[in-house]
């Protein structure tokens, strides 16, 4: 029978644990505790200055209310549409731009790459303001449309419920595509050139090379981008808030904007937190779980 080894610094059993304590404490204190407190409050009717947990407990009331609340469901729908449209455009435009820039001569690519990444340096709220002036009827977009004979009514931008969400998605593309260009370029550089040379020798065309070599080898890069973009788009607040404020007629109200309205304007903080929690769960379900499963599959392989 062997005697269990005592934990000691000398043997190195305790040291790794001790070294992890500051990092774990930081994560717990800064991330887990506020999140847990937020989740906790969503089960109460919280109000500043007069909160008594013994009488304010309401259980799942706020979550059930969410699914009966017409505006909340509209916000959920808008958020999912924004997320789908934003990611689809990010990926398509980002990939095309990255491949195009990658195919340029090295000298030209060096010149173009920093120029196209400029929007990445602008904060989302400023992006919203820039695009507000672009979409203004006296702004550059309608000046250009007027020059080529396209009437305002063809694309009324943020002034109409029919095109407002698309307008916010376009503004999002403008800001986020440069990020994809940078990441995808890094992925493209890592693909061995021999593969392209061999394909060309075998007579493969540009399209065939793209779909059979480039895309499959960029798969892991896309997965990471999908996770980052997905989380980012479900949380969307700044661009929409600056551009439309959620209007017209709630056509662009997102879950984050609705949570803000409920929590800070209507003073219904607990319901606002419940809406934010739903957004978080949606993010995890849509982008977190597939990412975890994908990682697990890869480990298994």
């Amino acid at each position: 029978m062997t005697k269990p080894a005592a934990l000691s610094l000398e043997k190195g059993d305790l040291l790794p644990t001790l070294l992890m304590v500051p990092a774990v404490s930081l994560v717990l204190g800064v991330m887990v505790v506020p999140l847990a407190f937020g989740a906790f409050l969503s089960f109460f009717d919280f109000s500043f200055g007069s909160f008594d947990p013994r009488t304010a407990f309401v259980g799942l009331k706020h979550y059930l209310r969410f699914f009966r609340d017409e505006t909340a469901l509209k916000a959920l729908g808008n958020t999912l549409m924004f997320s789908a449209g934003a990611i689809a455009g990010d990926f398509t435009i980002g990939t095309l731009a990255a491949v195009l820039i990658h195919s340029l001569s090295r000298r030209l690519a060096r010149l173009v790459r920093p120029i196209v990444t400029v929007p990445l340096l602008v904060s989302p709220i400023v992006v919203g303001l820039i695009w507000r002036y672009i979409y203004d009827p006296q702004g550059i977009l309608y000046w250009m449309m007027d020059r080529v004979g396209i009437p305002f009514e063809f694309f009324p931008g943020v002034t109409s419920a029919s095109t407002a969400l698309l307008s916010t998605i376009i503004a999002h593309w403008w800001q986020v595509v440069p990020f994809l260009i940078i990441v995808l370029t890094a992925g493209l550089v890592s693909i061995p050139t021999e593969l392209y040379e061999a394909a060309r020798v075998d007579g493969a065309g540009v399209v065939s090379i793209f779909f059979r070599i480039t895309l499959p080898l960029l798969r892991d890069v896309y997965l990471v981008i999908l996770l980052i973009s997905g989380v980012d788009t479900i949380k969307v607040f700044d661009i929409i808030f600056a551009l439309t404020g959620g209007g017209p007629n709630n056509s662009t109200v997102s879950l984050s904007i609705y949570a803000y309205t409920q929590g800070f304007e209507n003073g219904d903080l607990s319901y606002g937190i419940a809406v934010a929690m739903v957004a978080m769960i949606a993010t995890f379900g849509l982008f977190g779980i597939p990412f975890i499963l994908q990682n697990r599959n890869r480990r298994d392989r």
Partner: protein, 413 residues
């Protein structure tokens, strides 16, 4: 040697006198004042140095955190760095009074013989809750009509007297000149303010005499219909405009007439920003019969119940809202005070030609009720008005839906 002694003695006397003076200065009470941050606060920080009865320190913080910080301070013990004086949004007054955070000042008004009749009646009433006065009003804003008189003269149009006249003018400019009226019709608080001002000017209110939500009253439906018509005959893009864009459209001649926030009217007189410096004129935004009533939005200087010095706090708020100090602020940064007579002051009238219009509206103005759930109604109106402005929905149907959706909402407290 004797001279040296004399010099030392003189120096000692001077130092002693200086020290006494500094000590006397220090004997003045200290006041901590709460307000939001910005250029206006920076100006006030300079100005309060002139207040003779106390050393005043202004704690100016971001507007978004102001209410929460004030409420935390109200619950703190005296002498723990709590606020003595607070600048309160009129919408927060009732909540503060109900929670017992503010000090009634009726006795102090009598003691220091302060006449509250100098303030616009509609605004002063907002500071009186359950028969007691809790502060002195200042820093008002409301929606007014600004128009290019040259465009009106060219079209031989008269200044609109009623809301229907205003729609007719907007229609004329839209149909004959391709422009229209500039209004803040973006989904947001500005649109709700416009609706409420049309409602108040037409003699209506959100609630009936029993305090029940009454969005289907005749004035309410009328106000929503006028709003619909104004949106229909508005300048292209107005459904995405808040106050700033609306005011800009007027001063850049994009729109010959607009409904602008009074706080932005001073820019019409800045030659670097405005194309209508010499031709801009102002009029009240009227209701169905030509009456006018602002949706009074303003701030109140109030004293925290846990103030460390009641008298110094009162002297400070009455000093800040005194005619001389209000005039100084008005001339420096176009702040609109609650003092009605200021609009007749030639110096002020020259600097702010729109002030008489503003004061007329404020004098008859009403306030959004300080109810716990009023913001819920306001947010519902914000969305409903956006629907009215951007779709073919009938104003009455939209109001009916809001009324039905809020049937269970408690508007009694």
């Amino acid at each position: 040697m004797k001279r040296m002694r004399l010099a030392i003695l003189a120096a000692a006397v001077l130092v002693s006198l200086f020290a006494q003076s500094a000590a006397a200065q220090d004997k003045k009470p200290s006041l901590l004042v709460s307000r939001w941050a910005g250029p206006h606060a920076d100006f006030q920080k300079q100005m309060v140095r002139e207040f003779p009865d106390a050393n005043v320190r202004i704690d100016d913080i971001d507007y978004g955190s102001l209410k929460q910080k004030q409420m935390t301070s109200f619950q703190a013990a005296k002498g723990t760095g709590n606020y003595d004086v607070v600048w309160v949004n009129i919408q927060w007054m009732k909540e503060y009074v109900d929670a017992g955070y503010l000090l009634p000042i009726d006795d102090l008004l009598k003691k220091y013989k302060v006449d509250t009749k100098i303030y616009a009646k509609g605004m002063m009433q907002g500071a009186v809750i359950d028969g007691k006065t809790y502060g002195l009003p200042t820093f008002a804003q409301c929606l007014i009509l600004a128009y290019d008189s040259a465009a009106f003269d060219a079209a031989k149009l008269k200044v609109p007297r009623t809301a229907d006249d205003l729609v007719a003018v907007a229609k004329y400019f839209k149909e004959t000149k391709g422009s229209g009226i500039a209004i803040p019709a973006k989904q947001g608080g500005a649109a709700a303010t416009l609706y409420s001002q049309l409602l108040f000017s037409s003699g209506g209110f959100y609630f009936d005499k029993k305090g029940k939500l009454d969005l289907l009253s005749e004035p309410s439906v009328y106000a929503a219909t006028i709003y619909d018509q104004l949106a229909k005959y508005s300048v292209r893009g107005a459904t995405a405009w808040h106050h700033d864009e609306t005011a800009e459209a007027v001063r850049t001649k994009t729109a010959p007439i607009g409904i602008i926030m009074s706080g932005l009217a001073n820019q019409n007189h800045d030659p670097e920003k405005s194309l209508i410096v010499d031709t801009v004129k102002y009029a009240t935004l009227n209701g169905k019969t030509g009456d006018t009533a602002a949706n009074n939005a303003y701030w109140v200087w109030a004293i925290a119940k846990n103030t460390n010095d009641v008298d110094a706090s009162f002297k400070f708020i009455s000093w800040m809202t005194s005619p001389a100090i209000e005039k100084k602020q008005t001339l420096a940064n176009q702040q609109i005070s609650a003092i009605t007579s200021l609009s007749e002051d030639p110096e002020v009238a020259k600097k702010m030609p729109y002030l008489s219009v503003v004061m007329k509206e404020l004098g008859n103005g009403k306030m959004d009720p300080a109810l716990k759930n009023f913001q819920v109604l306001k947010n519902a109106l914000i969305v409903g008005l956006s629907e009215i402005a951007t779709t073919d929905a009938k104003p009455e149907d939209v109001l009916k839906k809001i009324q039905a959706d809020l049937a269970a909402t408690d508007f009694t407290k």
